[in-house]
Symmetry: C2
């Protein structure tokens, strides 16, 4: 039995309530003996379940079944082109606006910079099969661009360019539902006031903020994930 076998058997016991929520389960050494495997193998299995939120492990206190297991759903954030192509449609995008601009206060707060800091402002419409798919508004800190050169975002979208060139950064994401503002509705080809799915994302490296994006998807868009 490998570590996945151990994990599955432990999971079965948790689900079968052989080990009740809150209860301390046998130690690694005891389980290793019972299953006839090395302690490291048990460790690997239990660590996996702890990462999934089903077990809570503390030195000396031992391992216990989580009382209120926090379900962790993993969202895979792909670039928009991939998302569109995964639907079997042809991707395209149009840059609607591109200029230098001072960031508004709300954006400055999210990016951790002073309000009015000058950044590149980009407004882009993403298309699926020629029809509007998502509306993007982005502030971009050109100071962090490699070589200080601003790429041609008419060629490759800023979304994709950043993933390939300034990626491997950290960030936070917020999802919400809003009413489409008139300009947004016009860009997306929907009615003002229609509900839009909003994704707002701030990205930064250890040194500096990189970009803040506000992405709007029209009615019918669904963000899916598996648990």
């Amino acid at each position: 039995m490998g570590w996945e076998g151990v994990r599955d058997e432990v999971l079965r016991r948790i689900r079968a309530r052989d080990w009740a929520p809150g209860e301390v389960i046998p130690g690694e050494e005891a389980l290793a003996v019972e299953f006839g495997v090395a302690r490291a193998t048990v460790n690997r299995a239990l660590r996996d379940l702890a990462e999934a939120g089903l077990l809570e492990r503390r030195r000396k206190a031992g391992t216990r079944v989580a009382l209120l297991p926090v379900r962790k759903a993993t969202l895979e954030i792909s670039i928009i082109r991939q998302e569109v192509e995964a639907r079997g449609e042809v991707y395209g995008h149009r840059v609607l606006e591109s200029r230098m601009e001072g960031v508004p206060l709300a954006v400055a707060l999210r990016m951790g910079v002073a309000a009015g800091a000058r950044m590149m402002f980009l407004e882009t419409l993403h298309l699926a099969g020629g029809r509007p798919f998502a509306h993007e508004v982005r502030w971009l800190n050109i100071a962090v661009l490699p070589g200080g050169v601003v790429p041609d975002f008419g060629e490759v979208s800023a979304n994709e360019w950043l993933v390939q060139n300034v990626a491997y950064a950290t960030g936070d994401i917020e999802f919400s539902a809003e009413s489409a503002r008139p300009e947004e509705a016009a860009a997306l080809g929907i009615r003002a006031g229609d509900p839009v799915f909003v994704t707002e994302r701030a990205t930064w490296t250890a040194e500096a903020p990189i970009t803040f994006v506000r992405l709007l998807h029209g009615p019918g868009y669904r963000l899916r994930t598996m648990v």
Copy 2:
């Protein structure tokens, strides 16, 4: 240097583009020699980065820097009571409806059962500080309830009861933006047509479907995550 040290150094090299996207990095053995650690330690570090989507590993082919790193955001799905209390507000809930009912087609499809299958229908309003926080509509397969006994969902919410009693199951989640229907708007104390943030979640065990929930949050609600 421990495995986290190895991971951080590898991450630094990726960000610094010492190793470019798509490029094969040195093998585990070589890195182990370079860092002066055991191969298992390098393995642990690289496995971690691969899980994060920054590396792609294949036997024989080696380890390469991901060309298009898929950002994996982890959502921690907590029970609504915790979410409300985390905001420093008092949680409460009211059961608006509770009856046996055949499931509609859309729900049947999501749950993988025949349309019209009889399940328990529950409509609940979750309160934060006495004010509507979320509106919940749920179909529940009472066949899977331990002992076949239906708990008193006036006491503990179905949400919380299920997490504690039928938890450790799998499922899928969908998020979307919709317009509040008149009944929903009335329950939430908002205007019909206002945008609502919709969470739909189907849960099942290996044997049978457990429950399908449709959860509505009114304007202002934001789902946050860190990358």
